[in-house]
Amino acid sequence: MSENKNEGYVTADGRKIGGTLMEMKNITLRFGGVKAITDISFDIKEGEIRAIIGPNGAGKSSMLNVISGFYVPQEGEVWYKGARRPSMKPYEVARQGIARTFQNIALFEGMTVLDNVMTGRLNHMKANMAQQAIWKGAAEKEEVANREVVEKVIDFLEIQSIRKTPVARLPYGLKKRVELARALAAEPSLLLLDEPMAGMNVEEKEDMSRFILDVNDEFGTTIALIEHDMGVVMDLSDRVVVMDYGKKIGDGTPDEVRNNQDVIDAYLGVSHD
């Protein structure tokens, strides 16, 4: 791996990773007196799959929420695309090209799969209201273009058969996939996945892993993900941040992390002093 932060590197399987897309600098997040994250810094480079792992309560989800703007850290800076990001609302972050999924699935249950995925395109619609209402002019062209993207995503994630089904009727594994589809439809620069495989069986996990790899490969999307399943994480990711009790205890390739004594201790359990 290169020493220069802004330069990319070449992965073990020969993929070229670009410069720094996002950088977290000395982030500290408190809830009242409780420190959820303490002074953590790491970066995400363009085109890579970056994992954040750690035992329960390590602050992984909080970290993801800081990136997506749902939490505002008390200290530290968030740098995105080479500029410092001011304090932002979650919807503003989304408009900057950061899409996410949730640990507990946040879908529009009353809408169909297709409508759900279409909401991912909301920020790509520019035609005015009257044009949209009567489906003429810019709106028509736009809708066609947006539908093309959506159909491609639906195709890609193999959910054609359920496109007209209301989301509330779908089983858990498929809901997770629809949520991924909605995030992908936004054509994000950075895709955040909060435990994309939580609660899935082995087969579903394999499917999801394949999709994540394919998304990265096909669209070149930068992905940051949180996952519990160590095996999955090590297979998927290019670089891994390890957190424990709100602190960063390891950062590097899966192999480096696997041999890090602090990481081994955190997972196997030694007394904290």
Binding site: K89, G110, M111, T119, L122, Q132, A133, A168, R182
Partner: protein
């Protein structure tokens, strides 16, 4: 055709027309409920407030005239101009949008993620506040609202039916206009919520706040928009009811008539509000016509509520409401 049947048909048609007006009020409720999960108790008062503002603007009334006169000992009441009704309607719409923004900034922005019952209580407070505020602003006397909608019997229908059946139907012009406007309004609303970006965002917000934020929707903007649309519907309802029975306090009570309509149609369905309104309108007129004489009349006062009660027992989600699907 026998006389009774002809008379019955006329009652039926008048019921339909009354139903349209009920549906108009119910629509305002459905819109806000669908988009924010808030049952807006203040919808009726909003209609009253819109009508008061419209009359005030048209007549060039000085807002807060009584207050100003009491405090400063002046004698101002009117600016001395009259504003054409079309312009006044647009100005009133501006006031309703401003009201929507204020309501969002002062009340509902601070109540995000609260229980529905708390939001409901807030709208009760809002209703009482606006009732008083409307009085202070425009005075509490009964006002006549004339925006140029024709009133009285429609001569053409009377003539045609007289020629055909030897019995002229009495249909009020105002009711016909109301029906046409309501139809246009509903078409606009459906186009808006189903086909525009803002409409899709509105449905998304109603469904899940977190997910809406994550796809880049501003909750604040959508809510101001929803309250503005509800304000617009309130204005239309206020104009129709105000033209029919004068602008006065009792206008806000039409909200009570909207409740059974909502229970029939379902709180989440725009077509439901329409069909519910028509059923209540026709139902109460026909019931009065057919059963009324046997029980001593005055059934119109309770028919709608009894029907709503039956629906609550046997089909709580209404005719068109979303059936609650829950996976366990």
């Amino acid at each position: 055709m026998p006389d009774q049947l002809l008379f019955g048909t006329e009652v039926f048609l008048n019921g339909l027309m009354a139903g349209v007006l009920y549906a108009l009020v119910a629509l305002g409720f459905v819109l806000i409920y669908k988009a924010s999960g808030i049952f807006n108790y203040a919808q009726g008062v909003m209609a009253l407030f819109a009508a008061l503002t419209l009359v005030g603007i048209m007549d060039g009334q000085v807002p807060f005239a009584h207050l100003i006169n009491a405090v400063f000992g002046t004698e101002v009441h009117h600016f001395g101009w009259n504003i054409p009704s079309f312009l006044a309607i647009i100005l009133t719409m501006g006031v309703m949008v401003a009201l929507a923004w204020i309501v969002q900034q002062l009340i509902f922005r601070h109540l995000v993620n609260q229980e529905p019952i708390i939001l409901f209580m807030a709208t009760i407070g809002l209703a009482y506040f606006m009732e008083g505020f409307g009085d202070i602003m425009w005075g509490s006397d009964i006002k006549k609202l004339d925006v140029g909608i024709p009133q009285g019997m429609n001569a053409l229908i009377d003539e045609v039916t007289y020629g055909a059946f030897g019995y002229g139907f009495f249909i009020d012009n105002l009711d016909i206009v109301a029906a046409v406007i309501a139809t246009i309004l509903v078409i606009l609303l459906v186009l808006f919520s189903q086909y525009t970006k803002q409409g899709r965002a509105m449905r998304a917000v109603a469904d899940d706040h977190q997910a809406a934020l994550s796809v880049g929707i501003s909750l604040n903007f959508i809510w101001v928009m929803v309250w503005s649309v509800a304000g617009f519907v309130a204005l239309v309802a206020g104009i129709m009811w105000g033209a029919k029975s004068g602008v006065q306090f009792s206008l806000s009570l039409i909200a009570l008539k909207a409740l059974p309509v909502l229970m029939l149609g379902g709180f989440t369905s725009i077509p439901g509000a329409i069909v519910g309104g028509l059923i209540i309108g026709v139902g109460e007129k026909m019931f009065e016509f057919l059963i009324g004489p046997m029980v001593g009349g005055a059934t119109e006062n309770w028919f709608a509520y009894v029907l709503a009660l039956l629906f609550l027992v046997f089909r709580p989600q209404g005719l068109f409401g979303e059936k609650i699907i829950e996976r366990v």
